[in-house]
Amino acid sequence: MLHIVSKSPFADSALESCLAHWRDGDALILIEDAVVAALAEGRFAPRLAGLSLHVLRPDLEARGLSVKALVDGAALVDYEGFVDLCADQPASLSWL
């Protein structure tokens, strides 16, 4: 399963809910306002460590955050990479 989260975890429980339903083999991509969850010094970093974690680069850059350190193991992907992730996983789930 590819989990797609787009809301900031500081304002919305989508990421919490996603993590509560996490299963082995799953992958996560943070897009739009959710990219803020990936900052290494942020409150959510410990929760994301060790997961198959991807962050949509254009959304990170748009917010001026690409200069910040990300959670260990976080992979930056562009739109093509996002499509590849969708294709690699059996299904995708958007947490709204």
């Binding site: 809910s17 339903h21 299904a91």
Partner: protein, 98 residues
């Protein structure tokens, strides 16, 4: 939004409907959406049976966290714990978030 579910079922897809997080509030009985100019959600729910949608799942933790029980819901549902809900979601070929 419930229309999307009915459309999928009308095209002979085997549809499961899952309510979790704030989604469980959609099932609360005694709603009066007309009072704020909204369409009744319950109308669509009544049609689920006619579209052969027999699998309606509700996450037990989502209800409990919000102070609801299954007795507060307007239709009969199957309760699942969070792990079982994750399993149901993982089994789907395609997922639509409404």
């Amino acid at each position: 939004m419930i229309e999307a579910v009915l459309v999928a079922a009308a095209f002979d897809q085997q549809v499961h409907l899952a309510f979790l997080d704030d989604g469980v509030f959609q099932l609360a009985r005694g709603q009066m959406p007309e009072a704020i100019g909204h369409k009744p959600f319950a109308q669509g729910l009544a049609e689920l049976g006619e579209y052969d949608i027999d699998h309606v799942w509700v996450e037990r933790e989502s209800l409990a966290e919000r102070g609801l029980t299954e007795h507060d819901l307007m239709i009969a549902v199957s309760l699942l714990d969070r792990a079982a809900m994750s399993e149901i979601l993982a089994q789907a070929d395609m997922l639509m978030s409404l």
